[in-house]
């Protein structure tokens, strides 16, 4: 099932699905006020119903808090292919342009189209792009 706001990565790739068992799906929001949280819950419910798992509970947990470290490698590759620079690992600051691969990049704005992204620009190919913030 794909994320409603970044419809190229699955909610498993994003690390939003914390646990799945026979009677329960455990979800966690990315950001405290992420407006996609309710949409995701509704989509999980619809998917469960469609697959005939009408009795499975959906629970939400805040703890431990979500981190971009939980995004899978395949998720990061998909983000990059989509034009969103994946989060840089903690301690490194070189942000790579998802278009041309240059690291001559700069921040335009600390927030982008969603709470989890910032706006950046490439000084080589001059294209703006979204960066999935390290969180």
């Amino acid at each position: 099932m794909l994320d409603p706001e970044i419809p190229i990565v699955s909610i498993v790739d994003l690390g939003i699905v914390r646990d799945v068992s026979a009677d329960r799906v455990l979800l966690t929001p990315t950001y405290t006020g992420c407006p996609a949280t309710l949409v995701i819950e509704t989509m999980v419910r619809a998917a469960l119903d469609e697959a005939g798992f009408g009795d499975v509970a959906i629970e939400t947990t805040l703890s431990p808090p979500w981190t971009t470290d939980w995004i899978t490698e395949s998720g990061k590759a998909k983000l990059k292919a989509y034009g969103i620079a994946p989060p840089t690992p903690a301690g490194t600051h070189a942000v790579e342009c998802p278009q041309c691969g240059s690291t001559a990049t700069e921040e335009i704005s600390r927030f982008g189209s969603t709470p989890c992204k910032a706006q950046w620009r490439c000084r080589d190919c001059l294209e703006p792009f979204d960066l999935f913030k390290c969180h």
Binding site: Y31, G33, T61, S63, P65, R110, F111
Partner: protein
């Protein structure tokens, strides 16, 4: 024949003719603590939302709206938990939209009007720096909800404090006009800082029970952080003025009622409206 359900006894009633009030007190300290946390986030989130479509640039517009979203997310968690602690069937929405101004427990700082962008950034720096230090401590709260929300939100709030610091520095150390506006903004907000560090009976009891934090313990750290930002911004700390206190007891300025009129209009006029 089915038996009738037992009649509810008040919390604290022992059923033996005695009344132990400690359970009721514990519940009320938790309720008040959650209201204070939730109302701070709710009111500042609403204030930041007022900028939507009016900010100096689209990037700033996005930043302010996203910070507002983070704060309203915190408020939802805190106020839902407050409703549960109160035990009278109210949820976060009921507390946000169906209380009057005297029942709000936010500090004065967050209800201050946006003014210009510099005034908004002064408020954000002073509040987010405090909230970051507070939430770092609340991650150790004995109340599970408070600890979980604090651990999650502290990462977001750290980002808010950084963003505000950068703008205060850029505007303070900018043009003659940006500097004047930044100083004016700070002068407006400065007198509301002492309230953030007030330890009244509820806060003291909450800290003693381990659900709240001793805010006085990080006053020096807070002052040092603010001083460092102001120094880099080449701004002077305003003179200490007579502090304004009382938000935690429901004593608010004229601005909060106007904010609530806008925020509460729709759910009060059209109860149970959905879209």
């Amino acid at each position: 024949m089915a038996s009738l359900p037992p009649i509810d006894v008040p919390t604290g009633a022992t059923g033996k003719g005695a009344f132990d009030s400690s359970a009721e007190e514990a519940r009320s300290v938790l309720f008040e603590t959650l209201l204070r946390l939730g109302d701070d986030s709710l009111i500042l989130g609403q204030r930041l939302g007022e900028w939507c479509g009016h900010a100096p640039s689209v990037e700033v517009d996005l930043s302010l709206a996203n910070m507002g979203l983070d704060l309203i997310g915190q408020a939802t968690h805190f106020l839902n938990a407050a409703g549960a602690a109160e035990g009278r069937g109210r949820d976060g929405d009921a507390l946000a939209f169906h209380r009057d101004v005297l029942d709000f427990r936010n500090c004065w700082l967050v209800e201050q009007p946006n003014g210009d962008f510099a005034q908004t950034m002064a408020r954000q720096l002073l509040f987010s720096t405090w909230q970051q230090l507070l939430f770092e401590r609340l991650t150790a709260s004995t109340d599970e909800t408070i600890a979980a929300v604090a651990a999650k939100a502290v990462k977001e709030v750290t980002y808010h404090a950084e963003l505000a610091s950068e703008w205060v520095i850029r505007l303070g150390d900018g043009t003659e006009e940006s500097r004047r506006r930044m100083q004016d903004g700070l002068d407006w907000m400065w007198r509301f800082v002492p309230e953030l560090f007030e330890m009244d009976a509820v806060a003291t009891e909450a800290a003693a029970r381990g659900i709240g934090a001793d805010v006085v313990a990080f006053r020096a750290d807070y002052d040092a952080r603010i001083a460092a930002v102001l120094a880099e911004a080449t701004l002077a700390a305003p003179k200490d003025q007579r502090p304004i206190l009382g938000g935690r007891r429901g004593h608010h300025g004229e601005h909060l009622g106007h904010l609530l009129a806008v925020m509460q209009f729709l759910p009060r006029t059209y109860p149970d409206a959905t879209w």
